[in-house]
Symmetry: C2
């Protein structure tokens, strides 16, 4: 992977981060103190929301507490609002969030996994762009922060990342532009049929997942295909699929078989290899922004800012 940098873009933000916990609880909570140190070392003055360390069973507070944390995040001075972690819980909040207020806040929202529901609901209801990428506890609350993940995050936040290039040996030929959208596949599909699912035509859809069995990944992708969503996109970009374990009855049926079936049944270019997923290395990607994508000689180039 290679990131083409330039300083030709003005900083997008005041480079201050506010951390909220809208989904699962951070355990141990001290991970967030480590995250503050690591994010500050990266040049981002970082503040924790007062509910960021709250634990209420398998949630970071009651639904009301987590909603109130999101409301506080809109009103504090830092330009970047980062989720502490994923887990489960955003789904419960979707109907209660004031999406217009979120969009109007002008904040730059970054999260991952369960946060995909936030990214996509914001896009669906307002058209506003937000980001998927590292989260405070899981990616920065660790002793050894992944350098590439950190650099890609910092460069993206500073508007310096123009092109993200990655190896994509088995990519279909593609050269086009469209709205980049997607995130965690299960979360994305969990919005189908609801008002929180973006209606994107001619987009570039990217997906990843963790702990989803290959046959379930295929079922999710077929749901997107049979609902007409996949066919309306210009390309399907695949991040990583990790954390599952095949059983004997799978008879070796694995992600490559899923990709082969999707290629056979859906007539859109498939581009694997996006450095994005439940992995240490993850790009920070805008959700809802117009991007370019081109493949050549075993590489794919995602053009995030164009001159």
């Amino acid at each position: 992977m290679k990131a083409a940098n330039t300083s030709s873009h003005a900083p997008l933000t005041n480079q201050r981060i506010y951390v909220v916990s809208p989904s699962g609880p951070v355990v141990p909570a001290e991970k967030l103190d480590t995250a503050v140190v690591n994010l500050q070392a990266l040049g981002f003055k970082t503040t924790l929301d007062r509910g960021a360390k709250t634990v209420n069973g398998r949630f970071a507070g009651t639904d009301l507490q987590r909603l109130q944390a999101l409301t506080r995040a809109l009103k504090q001075p830092a330009d970047i609002v980062m989720a502490a972690r994923g887990g489960y819980g955003m789904t419960r909040l979707l109907p209660s969030i004031d999406w217009r207020a979120v969009a109007d806040s002008g904040k730059v929202f970054v999260g991952h996994s369960d946060f995909t529901a936030f990214n996509l609901a914001l896009l669906a209801t307002t058209g506003a762009v937000s980001y998927t990428g590292p989260v405070a506890a899981a990616d920065f609350g660790v002793p050894n922060v992944n350098d590439l993940t950190a650099d890609l995050f910092a460069e993206t936040m500073r508007g310096e990342l123009e092109i993200l290039s990655f190896e994509s040996e088995k990519a279909d030929a593609f050269d086009g532009r469209g709205a980049l959208w997607g995130g965690n596949l299960a979360m994305l599909v969990s919005l189908l049929g609801t008002p929180f699912f973006p209606k994107i035509r001619g987009g570039i859809l990217f997906v990843e997942d963790v702990n989803e069995h290959p046959y379930r990944v295929e079922r999710l992708l077929l749901q997107l295909a049979q609902s007409g969503v996949l066919g309306r996109q210009k390309a399907l970009v695949l991040g990583s699929f990790t954390g599952y374990r095949l059983a004997a009855h799978d008879q070796g049926f694995d992600i490559p078989d899923v990709i082969a079936h999707i290629r056979k049944t859906v007539g859109i270019p498939v581009i694997p290899g996006l450095p994005y997923g439940h992995t240490a290395v993850k790009a920070t990607l805008p959700i809802g922004a117009k991007v370019g994508l081109a493949t050549e000689q075993g590489m794919a180039h995602l053009v995030i800012h164009e001159h």
Copy 2:
């Protein structure tokens, strides 16, 4: 559970069964020979489709082979067509099945789990009623067939079952009529957004699941709620949720918590306790038929045939 019987209804079928394998393979295949013996002992002359024992990786044949088996099932003389088992595979076939021909065949289709996609797609595309209940290999291909499951199946096929009564200690008060529909929750939700999801208003929706973590069950139910489906039903009936194992980070968050959250957020009566699921005891239920449902004193009564 108590089943009220009567012989006042004419037999619905010629009481012959044809077994097909539209999803996962039967391993070992001999289970189907056992099933034939057990179904015949129950009074059903039973024939295996010639592809019923086919194994192709994690499928009972290629997609084409399984489609051809379904086509053969429409043309053979037995009135009842029973799936050999669930697994995964029906999703792949949905767009290729001639649903009009399925409905016009007049056959009585019975299956479970993955077969929910067949039941619901048939209902969505044609309005035809089919059945969810036991399957040949898993329920009848075993040494000790569950008597209640077998009796309920036989009585339902013969049109003799009028009322299915079951214990439902925590049922909300309900007395009403509507189209009975549902099945496996994950399969049902996997159709949302596609042409295979039935548009039912004022229905009685029943769901069960296996190996789905409680937080995922909640996410599936919230998807139904946020898509407007749950709110349009008269009642939500719960079968069993089995096979999952809580992890430490669940902090005890279990199915009762899910039910409590759904009750709080969706204003329809919830009736637990339906003897249906990935369990030895399972009722045979019509999908798409108008039924009555009433609760009283810790019991629920599902009125399948009325005088």
